[in-house]
Symmetry: C2
Subunit: 208 residues, 2 copies
DNA sequence: AGAAATTTTGCAGCAGGCGCAAATTTTCCT
DNA sequence: AGGAAAATTTGCGCCTGCTGCAAAATTTCT
């Protein structure tokens, strides 16, 4: 009843993806999501404006649709791993395990980032989604650290992990610099693990 | 011409504050900002709806007005301190230096937090403001660490500092637990400094 | 094929937000 | 003071985005 029954669910998912794709395409061609209207997106896909709003509350949500898809997997991965690893490692490995580099095209991702940073509204929506993610994961992290959700420690762990994820992903997609994405993420998490106040040496494996 | 010329600027600031206050008051009495309209706020203060929109683009901005006031000071403080302290310490001390505990009433702050967490729109706007703050401070932090704004290290520093600020403030206002706000902030920053992966001992000064 | 369930669509409605120009208020100058 | 100049407030109209609702179209099931 949820994901793969028959033609029905498949078509819905397809329409949703089509709308999301069209949104990205139009935003690129117009040089900014702000210049795109819901009507245009709907027209591009060949459905009514009303139908667009049945799938997404607004164009920003359509634009960020892929991100949301990934989020669900990420939560599940963290939950699984948290049962058998220290929670900090679980967060890091779940992040690495998303394999964002295999899943998305680098050039397209750079486009996306650029568009996001040029739209205040889009930044807001994305930030909001991070807050949701925080809320959804907090229970897991709190339990894993043996503390209540009110305690600052699990909040700091989760908050800094999410920041680390976002920053390392953005950094790698903006400029891989010969590293793999997994390396970039691992390095960033290592920095947080060693204490943020002093930078970790970066060069290729200092021997001393 | 900016802040204190005469009656003019004073009155404007007063109206702005009155609108902001009224927003909070109405949100409390109606149990959520979503249930409040711009018209009501304007009516409460005795100005036209149009005037409300001259001061704030929307009710969320009015609600978060105090926060924005504080933000300007914070940026200035960070800039000053970064010239003469390690940047991490500068961020921490600038945060402590805001003296949020003296500036705001605890009970009112709890109200505020509750209202924020009950309104998705408000969460989004607040998150967006944090992103703006990030953008405004990144240059300073990057320079202080001797790296470019593209480098992940200054981003991690600033990102985790902002998270630490937000979490420690929220934590203290929700429950001071005998600590001062300055202690709560310092403790949280110390945690990040020592590495987030393992929790710092918390008890009152372990002797060993 | 026909009934039941679901999706799509158009329409109407509401709140938010902005530009504009008239009315009002405040400041400044003589 | 008096009156001109500057700035603020206000009302009005307009457009956009989003949602509820009920009718039309489509798909599924028997």
């Amino acid at each position: 009843m949820a994901d793969q029954s028959g033609l029905r669910e498949r078509k819905k998912a397809a329409t949703k993806a089509a709308l999301s794709d069209a949104t990205l395409r139009l935003a690129v061609s117009k040089g900014g999501l702000d210049a795109v209207t819901a009507d245009e997106i709907a027209a591009e896909v060949g459905v009514s404006t009303r139908t667009f709003h049945n799938y997404f509350p607004n164009k920003e949500a359509a634009f960020l649709h892929d991100f949301n898809e990934v989020t669900g997997e990420f939560i599940a991965a963290v939950r699984d791993r948290a049962a058998q690893q220290p929670v900090w490692d679980a967060l890091r490995d779940a992040c690495v395990g998303m394999r964002m580099d295999e899943r998305f095209d680098i050039a397209q991702m750079q486009c996306r980032e650029e568009l996001i940073h040029s739209s205040p509204e889009l930044i807001k929506v994305q930030a909001g989604q991070f807050m949701e993610l925080f809320a959804e994961l907090l229970g897991i992290v709190a339990e894993a650290t043996g503390r209540s959700t009110d305690h600052p420690y699990p909040r700091l762990v989760l908050g800094s992990a999410l920041v680390t994820m976002k920053i390392s992903n953005e950094d790698w997609f903006a400029n891989p610099r010969g590293r793999t994405l997994a390396e970039a993420i691992t390095q960033a998490f290592a920095q947080m693990e060693a204490g943020i106040a002093r930078p970790l040496p970066e060069g290729p494996e200092p021997d001393a």
